[in-house]
């Protein structure tokens, strides 16, 4: 057994012991019961083990890292879901707990990525190259922000005003045209344009989602939350397709 595997095994075992201790000592206190059930203790130990192995998927890179991280997330989410269900969470509450876990994962991933990015900056500096794009390409995304504000804030205001102005029984513009045509087409085309110029910019679809949220509660109600997704998802799709186009074009003339 090599050193990496030994360290990994030690972390998993430490995590399992800490998880078991948590299950035995703290869960009854939190839940206001006398003892934890054996299944809860087992799930706590397994979840502790999974948390101990959390750094292992990041040891590699590329496809291997994505695969290992995906498997680790699936295992952790399953264990966590089972544990929360055992502790009484159900329905929406369970989904909220899973969403918090996913958010935690995203934060950890971002932290790792920033570490890699700093390494790349060091390499660029040592090689005398230009500093390269900003973290998560936020600076490169900024020129598209006015369009996002127009698409996700200006347009809904305009559509809603037009619906009121014509006193229509059915708000065709804001209820149908906007979410099913204008938001997807606008998001996709702008994402495609950005992807072709700058590659994958993860903050762009996020900006679409976040910028639309105030409009949901200002102009509509929470049933219109899907409007945000109708802008963000096509923006992500367009951005990825633009990046793929950008990658495919230079390949035609490139040598290996």
């Amino acid at each position: 057994m090599n050193k990496i595997k030994q360290v990994g095994l030690a972390r998993v075992l430490t995590g399992m012991v800490l998880g078991l201790m948590f299950g035995v000592a703290l869960v009854p206190y939190i839940m206001g019961v006398r003892n934890s059930s054996p299944l809860v203790c087992l799930l706590c130990a397994a979840l502790g083990g999974a948390a101990g192995a959390a750094t292992l998927p990041f040891a590699d890179d590329g496809k291997s890292l994505l695969l290992r991280s995906g498997i680790h997330l699936a295992v952790t989410a399953s264990l966590f879901g089972l544990l929360m269900a055992q502790l009484g969470a159900e329905g929406v509450e369970l989904l909220v707990w899973e969403a918090i876990l996913a958010l935690l994962y995203a934060v950890v991933w971002l932290g790792r990525w920033i570490g890699w990015y700093v390494e790349v900056i060091q390499l660029r500096t040592l090689l005398g190259l230009s500093p390269g794009p900003s973290p998560l390409k936020w600076r490169e995304t900024l020129p598209y922000l006015p369009f996002v504000l127009f698409l996700c804030n200006g347009l809904p205001l305009l559509m809603r005003w037009a619906d009121h102005a014509v006193s229509a029984d059915v708000p065709v513009l804001s209820g149908l045209i906007l979410p099913y045509l204008l938001l997807p087409v606008g998001g996709f085309c702008s994402g495609l344009s950005l992807g072709k110029r700058q590659g994958v910019c993860p903050l762009y679809p996020t900006a679409c989602l976040v910028c639309y949220l105030p409009m949901v509660f200002l102009l509509f109600n929470r049933t219109a939350l899907f409007h945000s997704v109708m802008a963000a998802l096509p923006a992500l799709l367009g951005n990825v397709m633009g990046w793929m186009y950008r990658r495919a074009v230079p390949k035609r003339g490139a040598e290996r």
Binding site: F58, D61, G62, L65, L66, W113, E119, L126, L129, G132
Partner: protein, 155 residues
């Protein structure tokens, strides 16, 4: 220290002779650093033709299905040496191993990019893409730091 260069037309690899009054630690260090420069040409083949190409011509050395290949800006050659043998034959301030199957010329790197999944891509001469294994990043930084320190010492 007095430095003298004598040109000898036809010589393939430079030879350095150090004249000194006695042996010292500094002298041994100088000899070691000169030896590590490994400036000799690399034997490659193109079909039946055998060639000796200067190190600065190469962009990278990589393993493919058949063996080791060497790529220059113009074309790709076959190399009889293994990658670990090339590591000792090449100038260790210019060439560095970036993955199990590839050695690149750091002087020819024109861009470095990072993907969302943490893959580091190095572009050589603006066209050739090589992928860095995370395990080798420390070694690359050490090589670059060594080169930079030596450059400062020369300044």
């Amino acid at each position: 220290m007095e430095v003298e260069i004598r040109l000898e037309p036809g010589r393939q690899e430079p030879k350095v002779v150090i004249f000194a009054g006695g042996e010292s630690e500094e002298l041994l260090r100088l000899a070691e650093s000169l030896r590590s420069l490994a400036l000799g040409p690399i034997p490659v083949s193109r079909g039946e033709e055998k060639l000796l190409l200067p190190q600065e011509d190469f962009l990278r050395f990589y393993t493919d299905g058949k063996g080791v290949s060497a790529q220059t800006a113009q074309e790709t050659y076959a190399v009889r040496l293994r990658l670990y043998e090339l590591e000792t034959a090449l100038d260790n301030r210019r060439f560095v191993r970036i993955s199990n199957g590839e050695i690149i010329n750091l002087d020819r790197v024109t861009a470095i990019d990072l993907s969302l999944s943490g893959t580091i891509c190095m572009t050589l001469d603006g066209t050739v893409r090589s992928y860095v294994s995370r395990r080798y990043v420390k070694k690359i930084k050490a090589t670059l730091n060594l080169g930079r320190r030596n450059n400062h010492e020369q300044d």
